[in-house]
Every structure is written in C-alpha cells, then in structure tokens.
C-alpha cells in the first residue's frame, strides 16, 4: 500500500498461518494501559501497545480558546494528535501535518459521539495525544488512551471507546496490524466501537477488500475492541481501587 515500487517485501504469513511476530491472525499485540499517568493534567493515560507508546492528557471542561469556537449549547472537543519527531525510523518533521490534522478531526468526532457534551455548554474539553513511539495503529492507541484519560478526568460519557485496526496481510485478514503488515499489507481498517450500543464511531479504510472480506473484518474488529474494552476497564479499576484503610487514616 504505502510502498509502491519498494522491494524486499517480507513474508507476512507463514504456511502455518502465523504472522511475522508469531501471532495468530486474530491475536492482539500485548497491551498495557495506565490510567492517571500524568500529574498536572485533569485526566491522563499511557498506553503501551506492541511497540507503540502513546500518552494522552485531558484538560477541561475549561474556557474555550480560541473564543470563536465556543458553542452555546455544548462543549467543544478539541483534539490534537501529534507524533514526536523521534517516534518513527526516519525523523518526522515536527508540527502538524495533514495526516495529523485529519486524525485529530476523526478522533475528536469519535469522542464527541460518546461524551455528554451538552452537560458543559460554552466550554472546551481539550484532548492531547502524543505518539512517542510508533509501530502502526497509533490512532487506535491514541483513542484508547484518550478515552481512558477522559474517564480519569471524570468527564461523563456513554461508554469507553476501545479501538483496533483490522487489515489484510499476506492475503489473510489479520487483527491489530504491526508496522510491516501495515506497510506491505493489502488493506488497513481502523475502527472504534461503543461497546454498549455495538456501533462504530470511527471507521476508516484504505487498500482493497471484497465486500465479503470487509464484512468479516468488521466482525473481527468488533471482537478485538471488546477484548481491549476489558483492559481499559481494568486499568481504571486499578487506578481507582479503594485501598484497604491504612493505620491511623480515616
């Protein structure tokens, strides 16, 4: 996909049906979620997912900057997805490029689909996503981190928002693409699921799939999201576990 004319395409699927890192087609990379990873943000989360490291922070609801974006009937969600210059093999020029701006837009729209924005008119909920180390699937890791950070900030939501990409690599549908599968695979389909309603609030696709493959990929992605959902809930439970009362404390 992204590598027209490139050579040295690796073998993405072994004859035994195992992937480049030994995973089965429907297996997620290891994922670790830490809720409340930053001291100064109203809410935050750190996600290590395969070789991705993504930090998200939430500020707000607070005053809207710039002021003209203010809405009288609801909060605005302003999202900035940013990749660090050192997060990829070849140094990325710092600053907002078009890809980052598009991703910021679709993530903000996905989050606004689950946050009770009408509870906070004339305010802004600012969501910052920093990709520190990237290995495919950073927008999904960013949504997972942002969603846990929103919960950590105590912002009321319909549900958490697990996300994952399904792709086609070596001719087979695979869950949770890693870099080589993304670069040399045939399709990439990131999605974010509202587990309670079973609906998707983020959905993008690039590559080629038949309608039958696409239909199967949607089922795989939903199943993957449900696994990630459990990890997200566990991370929040861990953060807010009530400690057994220590001596002398009330």
């Amino acid at each position: 996909m992204g590598n027209v004319g490139a050579k040295d395409v690796p073998v993405l699927l072994s004859p035994e049906g195992l992937r480049i890192d030994g995973r089965r087609v429907d297996e997620l990379r290891p994922i670790k979620i830490q809720a409340g990873a930053l001291k100064h943000a109203d809410g935050s989360a750190f996600v290590e997912w395969g070789a991705n490291k993504v930090m998200a922070a939430v500020y707000g609801p607070r005053e809207v900057h710039p002021r003209h974006l203010q809405q009288n009937t609801k909060a605005v969600i302003q999202c900035k997805y940013n990749m660090a210059a050192f997060s990829v093999d070849e140094r990325k020029r710092p600053g907002l490029d078009r890809r980052s701006q598009e991703i910021s837009k679709v993530i903000a729209e996905a989050l606004e689909s689950v946050v009770f924005v009408e509870e906070f008119p004339r305010t802004s909920i600012d969501v910052y996503i920093e990709v520190l180390q990237a290995n495919a699937g950073t927008r999904c890791a960013g949504i997972v981190a942002a969603s846990v950070a929103l919960a950590d900030a105590g912002i009321p939501m319909v549900d958490l928002l697990p996300a994952v990409a399904v792709g086609k690599a070596g001719g087979a549908l695979v869950l949770d693409l890693k870099k080589e599968e993304d670069n040399f695979g045939e399709a990439d389909l990131p999605m974010a699921l509202v587990p309670q309603s079973g609906r998707l609030v983020l959905l993008q696709m690039e590559g080629h799939m038949t309608p039958a493959e696409l239909s199967q990929a949607l089922d795989m992605g939903v199943a993957g999201c449900r696994q990630i959902y459990e990890r997200m809930k566990a991370a929040l439970r861990e953060r807010y576990a009530v400690e057994p009362a220590a001596e002398g404390s009330a």
Partner: protein, 262 residues
C-alpha cells in the same frame, strides 16, 4: 434571526422529514442529485474536469511535472492531491491555512485514488532514483452545496481520465501521450438522519447529520477506501448495507467520470 437559530430550526425540520422517509428536496434515500462531469474545463491544465452534483461544484486540474522520486520509493512516481475550499464557495469559508474539513476532503480523495491504483505510479518513473513525473491533482471547491467528497473525486477522476503527459514539452519523449488509467474509483457518501441513512447529503443535511460514511469502490468490485466522519455512529450492519448501496451507484458515477454520458 441569527444563522445559528435558523440552522437549528432547519435541522429539526430535516430530522422530522427523515422520520417519515422524506427529504427536504423531495429525493428518496437512494437518489443522487443531478450529476454532471464536464471534461477539459481548463485548457492550461494537463487534464481537467468540472464536476457538479446538485449545486455543489468542484473543478479538478492535473499538472504533471518532472521531479525527484521519494528516497524510499525510487521506482515510483509521486502523486499529490490537494483540495481547496476557496472562500467564494460558501459564506462559512474564510481565507487562510487549510481547515480540517478541506484536509479531510483531500486525504479521503487521495486515499481512494491511491488505494485503487488508479494510475500505475511505477509507470511515471523516468530514471529510477533520479527523475520521475510528479502528478498534482488540485481540486477547487467553487460552490459548496454539500457532499464535497463525492464531487471532488468525480472531478479528480474526470481530470485524470482525460490527462496527457506533457513529455514533449519537458523534453522527456518525442511526443505527449495520454496518462494511463488502470482503475476507476468513485466515492459514495451517506449520512444518518435519525433512523434513515441517505445518500448524497446537501449542505443542510450534512449539518443535521448524525454521522457520515463514505465508501470508495472500484470497477473490479473492490472496496478501496472508507471514511466515517462527523459526530455519530454506525453499526457493522449499517456499514454492510451502505457498502452494498455504494456499489449500486458506482458504475453510473464511473461512466460519468469517464465521459460515457449519463
């Protein structure tokens, strides 16, 4: 009455109509507005087309210039797509750097052209690692009546289909030759209005929409790109239905872009 209040009233009206299966302009849920592609609209471009869906108008122009390939793809040409929502097209656009909406249009159109392998980029290469054709696809939205993505890709595809590689002008070959097109992607955009999902939204329908879903298909029966936008949600079954509906519109739109008449 402020713009905000009229928009609010109109939104309520559009959603009320949708609940009884109707649309403001009388269309059914699967009807496109009248769609026209006029190739060769701009003589100074190497390929061009004006695409019109209802009162949305996009002019697409192709320019091909020699340049350097990217270091990681020495054998491939370069393709860049850029959409401009120029201020003359809508009271809501202001001059300045591209807004997220314009960037999204560019990227979703670019994704469809690229993923469908519309042009074989390796054929644009002149000398590997050194010289290649750079293909610029510039899209100007000149009247914004909603559904920019579908209109922009029609303009882009119409322009590419009729493009000429200016090889003689740049001294690369004896004569100019037509740009070879391998696949014909088109995008179909749907929005959710309450419980119904309708194709080809107008500006006001987009403002009332509870989610937008674009599906790009090609003539080989493949889905090549998708984009969910705006605030809102779709179930996996909604997505499957929308993909089927996109295929039903695909061939007619492709024929328009290729100049095969309506």
């Amino acid at each position: 009455m402020s713009e905000e209040v009229t928009a609010e009233i109109l939104t309520t009206h559009i959603l009320d109509l949708a609940s009884s299966g109707k649309r403001l302009d009388g269309r059914g849920p699967d009807d496109y507005r009248p769609t026209v592609v006029e190739p060769g609209f701009v003589a100074t471009a190497d390929g061009s087309a004006l695409a019109r869906i209802g009162d949305t108008v996009v002019v697409g122009g192709i320019k091909l210039e020699p340049g350097k390939p990217f270091p990681d793809t020495p054998n491939a040409g370069v393709l860049t797509t850029n959409a401009e929502l120029v201020p003359l097209s809508s009271p809501t656009f202001e001059p300045g750097p591209p807004q997220p909406g314009a960037i999204e249009v560019s990227r979703v159109v670019d994704r469809a052209i690229r993923a469908a392998e519309t042009i074989d980029l390796t054929r644009l290469c002149v000398t590997p690692g050194e010289k290649t054709w750079v293909c610029y696809v510039d899209l100007h939205v000149i009247d914004h009546g909603g559904n920019l993505i579908d209109t922009a890709l029609l303009a882009a595809l119409g322009a590419l289909t009729h493009a000429t590689v200016p090889a003689k002008r740049f001294g690369i070959a004896e004569a100019d030759y037509p740009l070879e097109i391998l696949h014909y992607p088109v995008e179909c955009t749907f929005v959710r209005l309450g419980d119904s999902i309708v194709v080809d939204p107008t500006f006001d329908e987009e403002r009332a929409a509870q989610g937008r879903l674009t599906v790009a298909t090609d003539e080989a029966g493949r889905v090549v790109a998708m984009q969910k936008g705006l605030v809102g949600a779709f179930s996996p079954d909604d997505v499957r239905t929308v993909v089927d509906r996109a295929f039903r519109h695909g061939d007619r739109l492709r024929a328009l872009a290729r100049g095969g008449g309506g």
